[in-house]
Amino acid sequence: MALMGSPDIHAHGLVDGGESLVEGLEALEAYKKKDPAKVVVRFKAVGNAPIMKQNFFKVTVSNRFQAVIQFLRKELGWKAGEPLFTYINLAFSPAPDDTVANLYRSFATEGHLIVNYSTTAAWG
């Protein structure tokens, strides 16, 4: 009797995946599809950082946070070398490859994801 959810391993040689694997691969494909939905990101300046005229932006959820940082740089007109620190909810700095979808689901308040930005490291 095999435990539910355990990988079963055959004897030597090549093992064909079979139907289960094909179904599984199809499921994975479905989950890889990029979600086109957008959510609202709200940028909030901290300390001496300049406040932008426009602070609310709609961002596609499949974007990584890195893309949000780059977008912010562009909006601020800052070049790559200039220090820019970003935080969520004044609490922590997310990994750049974290997706907006994940951050929004976990940390959104009142319908938007708050991204604080500053010229110096504050909570990092």
């Binding site: 990988p7 391993i9 599984g24």
Partner: protein
């Protein structure tokens, strides 16, 4: 009254699993039980058996030397200088817990290690026949004879090829620790978990006059550590054995970066199909814990249309290519330095803290020395140093429901459980079941990574389990049981710290006992195959 537990024997015939009733054990690692299927009880010398006590789970079983597909790994060398031919299975580790209180490990030399409720490792030497016969032993309620001898130092095994041996790193021995016993036990298991890495310098980048052919380094790396932290050890080896001193003078450690090499298998890829034996190089996510990189590789292999058995048996070294210059900083997103790694690590700890409590005051409340100390604990791989600080931010579990199973009558127990072992009753406000959300992420084989709020208790008051989480987020792979279809067929499995996680594992418990050093429960999802 009989408890269900599982016997798991790994051998050349493949995995067989069984349910055993009362657990009694024979020497040579076989399992005998009144309710067992006899065919599964056989385990020859050198193989490892592990026994699941209620709610337990096995981490990994060894491969036997009888597997012709596996290349010989050379000699195993013990730290005390004695060597032993690798004629039988290698490291055999078992682990695991899901809200229960013991686990059993069978070592390669047929020593048994049982984590007891006292929180100490006890060693039982070769059981022959009836455990009760063991002199000086005491019977656990589960009918196992134990010799309560505390191990002073865990044996350390290095895996060697003719090329290199990882003697350059030092490991600290575990010591007793005084928080709830079973929690500590499994934290230590997680901490001590290692994975085999095979690191090869890109031959195009070898400095002049290098000793070619030797630039391959094998290491059993801690799951909770990070690739940049391995660089000093690898560098020492390369400088000693491979590089010419003059030629290597210009090398800068901070430019070193890793790429993972997918072995010669057909890789099914969405945008294009790669034919033939192609090495697919992808930048190894340097800021993922090593264990996560390894498990993610394991689950990627599980998606191959056709794969060799050895690839599927999950204990092959992960092959990485080490580059000595020109890190592709855009792709890597973060600098490949230990400093950047530390920053990323602290960020993850804070994010986990924030998810749990809605504030990071526990993390920000740490003194600078403590924050540095937690990272030092990882660098030095010192369990005590790490947990001295981590205990202030990681919740522990205190069972809120009485969940001690009744004692099986056939093992009339002489052992009485210490009263402190299983505290019941008052829920801990700071505890794992009181968090807002358990920090957990789901890693699909080739992405994406999914993160969402995961409350420890569901609306109906029942604990949130791994199965609930998987059905909620990946219903195509883990269909929800319905009255019309109470046992649906899962297409996938979940790997946490290399352990096959049972669906009934409680998220709160996982969040207290099976997190990585950064506070996150990383669940890697793999695909199952037809039997």
């Amino acid at each position: 009254m009989v408890h269900s537990s599982y016997c798991y024997v790994h051998g050349a015939e493949g995995v067989c699993q069984n349910q055993v009733g009362v657990t009694t054990l024979r020497a040579e690692g076989s399992v005998n039980s009144s309710a067992a299927d006899a065919s599964s009880g056989d385990a020859r010398a050198g193989r490892c058996a592990s026994v699941w006590l209620p709610g337990f789970l096995e981490m990994e079983a060894a491969k036997t030397a009888a597997d012709p597909e596996r290349p010989p790994l050379g000699r195993l060398a013990r730290k005390d200088g004695r060597t032993e031919d690798e004629t039988s299975a290698q490291n055999c580790r078992t682990a695991g817990v899901c809200g229960s209180r013991r686990f059993l490990e069978v070592t390669k030399r047929h020593g048994w290690m049982l984590g007891s409720s006292e929180g100490r490792e006890t060693v039982c030497l070769r059981l022959d026949g009836d455990p009760g016969v063991r002199s000086g032993g005491c019977k656990s309620p589960y009918g196992l004879g134990l010799a309560s001898k505390e191990r002073a130092r865990r044996d350390q095994w290095s895996c060697s090829s003719s090329v290199a041996m990882s003697t350059y790193g030092a490991r600290h021995s575990p010591s007793t620790f005084s928080s709830p016993a079973s929690t500590t036990l499994f934290r230590r298991l997680t901490w001590e978990g290692t994975v085999p890495l095979e690191i090869r310098v890109d031959s195009k980048e070898l400095p002049a006059n290098s000793n070619r052919g030797l630039e391959c380094y094998f290491i059993q790396a801690p799951r909770v550590s990070y690739l940049p932290l391995l660089v000093p050890e690898i560098k020492r080896f390369l400088m000693d054995v491979v590089f010419d001193e003059e030629a290597a003078r210009g090398l800068k450690e901070e430019d070193w970066w890793f790429e993972s090499e997918d072995g010669h298998l057909l890789k099914w890829c969405r945008t294009h199909v790669l034919h033939g034996a192609i090495s697919v190089l992808t930048p190894a996510c340097r800021h993922w814990p090593i264990g996560l990189i390894y498990d993610n590789h394991t689950t990627s292999v599980s998606t191959r249309q056709t794969a060799s058995t050895s690839a599927l048996l999950q204990s092959a070294p992960l092959r990485l290519v080490l580059h000595l210059a020109s890190p592709p900083t855009e792709k890597l997103l973060l600098a490949p330095t230990p400093e950047a790694c530390k920053q990323a690590f602290m960020g993850q700890l804070k994010e986990a803290d924030f998810l749990r409590w809605g504030s990071t005051k526990r993390m920000t409340g740490l003194r600078k020395a403590e924050q540095d100390g937690i990272w030092e604990g990882i660098k030095e791989h010192n369990f005590d140093d790490y947990w001295r600080v981590a205990n202030k931010v990681t919740p522990t579990t205190v069972p809120t429901r009485p969940n001690s199973p009744p004692v099986p009558p056939s093992s009339a127990s002489l052992h009485t459980r210490p009263p402190s072992a299983d505290p019941q009753g008052v829920p801990d406000r700071e505890g794992a079941y009181s968090v807002r959300s358990v920090p957990v992420r789901l890693y699909l084989p080739d992405g994406p990574v999914l993160q969402d709020l995961a409350p420890p208790i569901l609306e109906d008051g029942s604990p949130n389990t791994l199965s609930d989480l998987l059905s909620q987020h990946l219903p195509l792979l883990f269909p929800t049981p319905l009255p019309s279809a109470p046992t649906p067929r899962n297409l996938g499995y979940a790997l946490i710290q290399g352990v096959l996680a049972p669906p009934e594992a409680e998220l709160a418990w996982l969040g207290a006992c099976m997190t990585g050093a950064d506070g996150w429960v990383n669940v890697c999802i793999g695909l199952l195959r037809d039997r």
